[in-house]
Amino acid sequence: MHNILDDYAQTNGLRQINPGLKLFIGIASILLCVSSPGPVAPLFVSASMSAAILVLAKIPVRFYTRLLLIPVSFAAMSIAVILFITPGGDVLLEVPGLPLTITAGGANLAALLLARVFGGMCSLFFIALTTPMAEILEILQRLRVPAVFVDLTMLTYRFIFILIEEAGQIYRAQVMRLGYGRFRESIQSFGMLAGALFLRTWESGEALILAMDARCYDGRLTLPGEPRSISATAVAAALLYLLAALGILLSTGGLTLI
């Protein structure tokens, strides 16, 4: 809850780089990872994205390592399933007494997926940690995404932070009065928190209507988009990097673990 990536995006070392370029690099990297037939290219992407995040964007190492653990729990479970159910190739391991076998095909697929998830997540982190949401919205607006969608996302953004602050305070107040002690009380406390938050949400909504009306709301919520300069070196570096990744993808496509 205290790890909203956007907070880091506001102050990171790549803050001044054109947001469109950052978004382009991130999404292109993701697509490269998802379509890579072998694990090497995604691993290259995750290494270079992590390097960019840590060295260029100057995100604290401790924070970034904790971040990397988020996908692990999902990946561990799902990849375990794939490891056991995927057929093909030699049997590598049999669990005695259980109908569970790991085949070379399963191992290869699991390794590939793991690489893709890490490559994809690192690219996603790159976008999230270097590009503030407001700038992403600005790009969506320029790409002619329906205005009602951008407006709704924009208003949601603002209220996420207001409600998170409130939720955090309510939670703290409950803990100070010894809430969340045993399991039953935890559920009870959490229910109260959610209920109070709902009520607060409703009040915020009504206050928001009032505030918008007071400022002559006429159905327009545009961001003041100005054409941003884009440095030729940055574009060249980005293209070079993506070409390198593509090259690795093509040359190592057939490569498997086993």
Partner: protein, 206 residues
Amino acid sequence: MHIMEGFLPSPWWEIWFLVSLPFIVIGLYQLDRLVKEKREALPLLAVAGAFVFVLSSLKLPSFNGSCSHPTGTGLGGILFGPCIAAVLGLIVLIFQAVFLAHGGITTLGANVFSMGIAGPAVAYLIYKAGTRAGANTYATVFLAAALADLVTYVVTSIQLALAFPAATGFFEAFSAFAAIFAVTQVPLAIVEGAVIALVFKYIVQL
């Protein structure tokens, strides 16, 4: 239950985008009309979206992360209709991906379908059925919330099984995914049902 970035291979992530797209398009169309008619709908939907996001980012007791938005957006579904709820789900999922690293961009289509469309639809149907049958409100809410959660994870399991079928076919893969997620998801669904029922009770009391 978010599918992580990079997990769904082609063509499955594209397929799920195509499946979710009509709901989103219709939702956007309806939303546009609604906002033009009633300007106050926009701020209310925005705070509802923020609420769902914040609730899902809080740690449920003894579990790490929850996915309360099937029910959260289900609530949106009751108020504004299922397609608008899908748009709300999409927005929440984008924020979860970019703010919390839950989910991803290519998997957005699949996640929107399981959490923004299937889950809320179930919550919506059970709630409607329950109130029509005159069942106990809290029981109905509990059931709607818990089942919406379960449906979400069943759909996720289907999505994964389709993408990664086992040697003996889709059903074996599905049961494998469903079984392993059940360990975490069934208790979560029950807790979530209980919490949402409590919230409902709380709101009614006020």
